[in-house]
């Protein structure tokens, strides 16, 4: 087990493409760190530099406190998990898990002990003498993971390991990978483009965009306090509703299209910098759950929208609505097709399952104003302290 530190790491390819820019991230001993971002954000390149598959152009990589820039993948004592695993049909589950240790010529008793220990963690003890053909899809994945576990590496590196699984097995394996990682406590760097996977699995999540670190924090902090518009839009599903807005002259109101929302003193006390934007344009953000229907007995400033689409989920309704304010789409945070499909002024709200609403209705939301986020229109940075 070892902490991993990336200090001002850069990757510039021979063709001049700057894939990773001054990336500094510390992964604590035993931490599960997820690198997430859209395609081309540099997450895989960063992982591959840690693995030793890509040369580091500048900056320092420390594994276990020791500089590892020039070490071979083998010397770094890392394990790449799941990559294109192959299970051998004539070998037992025990042999499938332990064969990499045989390659290292580990004495038989030690090998057996490590395999047994891994099998216990993986819930495969009763299956050790079976052949892979008798296993379910999930169990086969666990055998593959067992191979990495028995090596006892300092760091696990996982590059979209679940992307080839069907949806059901993927959800099952997310929980499984997380549980096993917690149990064995090996520092783990996990790359995914799927923000739901990132949020559900990581102790902390590093969000990257175009090679630049956007924010690194716990999933909850990323969700509640995004540092910028990109993180606000990228994290969360459905995405945060982001609109162009104008603060009133005294910063006590906010104009969203033709509607005006009062801002109580408490909002300004929590975000003193907001006063500096009096009379100026900002970007206002609200998560779908912060737009409850007034009919749900919710209190807060009113916002009226036109209902365009309703998804009844049983426990709640997801309402797609429009207002006459300009919807802000953070570039790269949603894919191009999705962005193109968003209508002018479209937003999403979660309301109670029992609220009577239909397409074409006008719906009144009671804005949970304390939860509203504000961003600088020019820099995209959050307006807080």
């Amino acid at each position: 087990m070892a902490p991993v530190s990336l200090e001002k790491i850069n990757k510039v390819y021979e063709n001049g493409f700057h894939a990773v820019k001054d990336l500094s991230v510390n992964i604590a001993d035993g931490e599960f760190m997820v690198l997430v971002g859209p395609s081309g954000c540099g997450k895989t390149t960063a992982l591959r530099m840690v693995a030793g598959l890509e040369d580091i152009t500048s900056g320092t990589l420390l594994i276990g406190g020791k500089e590892a820039n020039d070490e071979t993948p083998k010397q770094r004592d890392i394990a790449m998990v799941f990559q294109n695993y192959a299970l051998y049909p004539h070998m037992t589950v025990a042999d499938n898990i332990g064969f990499a240790l045989k390659l290292r010529k580990l004495p038989k008793d030690q090998l057996r002990a490590k395999v047994n220990e891994a099998a216990e963690i993986l819930g495969l003890t009763d299956w050790l003498d079976r052949k892979p053909g008798q296993l379910s899809g999930g169990q086969r994945q666990r055998v593959a993971m067992g191979r990495a576990i028995v090596r006892e590496p300092s760091v696990f590196l996982m590059d979209e390991p679940l992307s080839n699984l069907d949806a059901k097995l993927r959800v099952q394996m997310r929980a499984e990978v997380q549980r096993i990682q917690r149990r064995i406590g090996v520092s783990t760097i996990y790359v995914t483009h799927d923000q739901v996977e990132a949020m559900t699995m990581g102790d902390r999540v590093t969000v990257l965009r175009e090679g630049v670190l956007q924010q690194v924090d716990t999933p909850q902090v990323l969700y509640d306090n995004p540092d910028n518009i990109f993180v606000a839009a990228f994290i969360g599903s459905p995405s945060m509703n982001l609109y162009d807005a104008t603060l009133g002259a005294d910063a006590r109101s906010l104009k969203l299209g033709s509607q005006e929302v009062d801002l109580p003193e408490s909002v300004l006390l929590a975000r003193p910098a907001l006063r500096g934007y009096s009379g100026k344009k900002v970007v206002a953000g609200l998560r779908p759950e912060h737009l409850p229907a007034e009919a749900d007995n919710a209190t807060g400033p009113k916002l009226v929208g036109d209902v365009e689409l309703i998804e009844a989920l049983g426990s709640e309704q997801v309402v797609h609505f429009t207002i006459d304010a300009n919807r802000v789409l953070a570039e790269g945070a949603v894919d191009k097709d999705e962005a193109a499909a968003v209508k002018h002024g479209e937003g999403v709200a979660r309301i109670g399952a029992k609220i009577p609403v239909k397409v074409g209705d006008k719906i009144t939301f009671a804005v949970s104003i304390e939860d509203m986020k504000f961003f600088d229109e020019a820099t995209g940075l959050a307006i807080r302290g």
């Binding site: 390819y13 021979e14 890509e54 294109n84 004539h90 070998m91 042999d95 045989k102 080839n164």
Partner: protein, 415 residues
């Protein structure tokens, strides 16, 4: 359903009538063919005979299928030995993966078939050499395999040696140049995979007792490092030895089956620093020459062997006629009087086991062996008859069911 394919693939048009709306594992089409002793695969793979050709169809996610399609095409452009990709089938219907279609490599065999029916001693050495050569070619061309294994390789006999062909590029990556880290990692994966596959054969009692899976796997690393060093090392040459040393180095490169693409000489105080950029494509000059002279398609070692026989036949013709005979005439007469009669004499029931140029090569070997025994040259006809009676029947059946007189593949239904 959309079938994206790289032209020309006229004959592949017949594939359009396959039941692409049904999961591949559930197909019951009469064109399905079974392959013996296949390697291991993570995906559903089925084989289909259509229009006299055999195709491999692999179900995988569209993203991976498109990627592999692109990479296999790139390998074909570089002339790196790999299966030929025909196309991909996407938008097959809800919850159905894409299908990657490749052409099955004629006269190829798998590692499992090679170990289960060894010919001329154990195949280990030749098999490792072929695999390492393929890996080195990939690395020279900037390809990271990511899953170098025996299961992902098909082998073809080439005049006593084996040629290796990449079958699965699902995990491959193409870079302008590979880093040492990428190369080392690929080799490490290869060692692990090959050892695992041989251990699996051992567990299934399919591996001869005298082969150690671990030692064999580790051998890949040693052979890879030796070949890589041989092909890429830089050396300092003193002016007086420059020409001789360059010629020697190029000859060595050719002996290893490679060609130089570019030579660079950099002046240093100690002498000239020689840097060689190796051609990625198979050397292939003998194959090309044989094709030019006779129209025969053969692998490189086979071609060299056949060309030697043409040269010897050329000498015989000139001696007999006491006059010069042109190369073209000699090649034409050799084809008509020597090669074609031998190939036509292959018994129908034994056809398809080896490529005709390989059979011809083996007959030449057999002729030498019989002549040594007899103390005189027994001639090609006698050698061929003896070979058809005693040697060819011991060659394992082809991986595919035999073709009948019409060239059609036998049909096997079900998965």
């Amino acid at each position: 359903m959309r079938f994206v394919f790289s032209p020309p693939a006229d004959e592949a048009a017949g594939l359009l009538t396959l039941p692409f709306g049904v999961p591949l594992e559930q197909w019951e089409d009469e064109r399905l063919v079974e392959i013996r002793q296949r390697g291991l695969s993570r995906h559903v793979v089925r084989f289909v005979a259509e229009g006299g050709e055999l195709y491999a169809l692999k179900a995988l996610s569209e993203r991976l299928a498109r990627r592999e399609y692109r990479l296999l095409r790139a390998l074909a452009e570089l002339n790196v030995p790999a299966v030929e990709v025909v196309g991909i089938v996407v938008d097959r219907g809800p919850d159905l993966d894409a299908i990657l279609v490749t052409r099955f490599l004629e006269y190829s065999t798998t590692y499992r078939a090679l170990f289960s029916s060894p010919r001329v001693g154990q195949p280990t050495d030749r098999l490792l050499d072929a695999l390492v050569e393929l890996l080195v070619r990939l690395h020279l061309s900037g390809f990271f395999w990511g899953d170098c294994s025996l299961s992902n390789t098909l082998f073809r006999y080439d005049a006593g040696t084996l040629g290796a062909y990449l079958v699965d590029a699902e995990t491959s990556e193409q870079h302008p140049v590979l880093t040492d880290g990428q190369r080392n990692w690929d080799v490490e994966l290869a060692v692990e995979r090959v050892s695992g596959e041989l251990m699996d054969l051992q567990a299934g009692e399919l591996l001869p007792d005298d082969i150690d899976p671990l030692e064999t796997g580790e051998e890949i690393q040693h052979r890879y490092e030796a070949l890589w060093e041989e092909l890429t090392r830089e050396e300092t040459l003193r002016p007086q030895e420059q020409r001789h040393r360059i010629a020697k180095r190029l000859r060595r490169l050719n002996d290893l089956g490679f060609d130089a693409d570019e030579l660079e000489l950099i002046s240093t105080p100690e002498g000239s620093q020689l840097r060689i950029r190796t051609k990625v494509a198979e050397a292939g000059q003998h194959s090309a020459q044989l094709f030019r002279q006779t129209g025969i398609t053969a692998d490189e070692h086979q071609a060299r062997r056949l060309l030697n026989d043409i040269a010897s036949f050329h000498g015989y013709l000139e001696q007999k006629s006491h006059a010069p005979v042109s190369e073209t005439v000699a090649a034409h007469r050799w084809l008509e009087e020597v090669y074609d009669p031998v190939v036509e004499a292959i018994p129908i029931r034994l056809r398809g086991r080896l490529a005709p140029p390989e059979i011809f090569h083996e007959i030449l070997e057999h002729r030498w062996y019989l002549s040594e025994q007899a103390g005189r040259d027994v001639g090609t006809t006698a050698a061929a008859n003896s070979y058809f009676e005693t040697v060819l029947p011991t060659v394992p059946d082809p991986l595919t069911p035999g073709t009948d007189d019409t060239g059609e593949f036998s049909r096997i239904l079900g998965p």
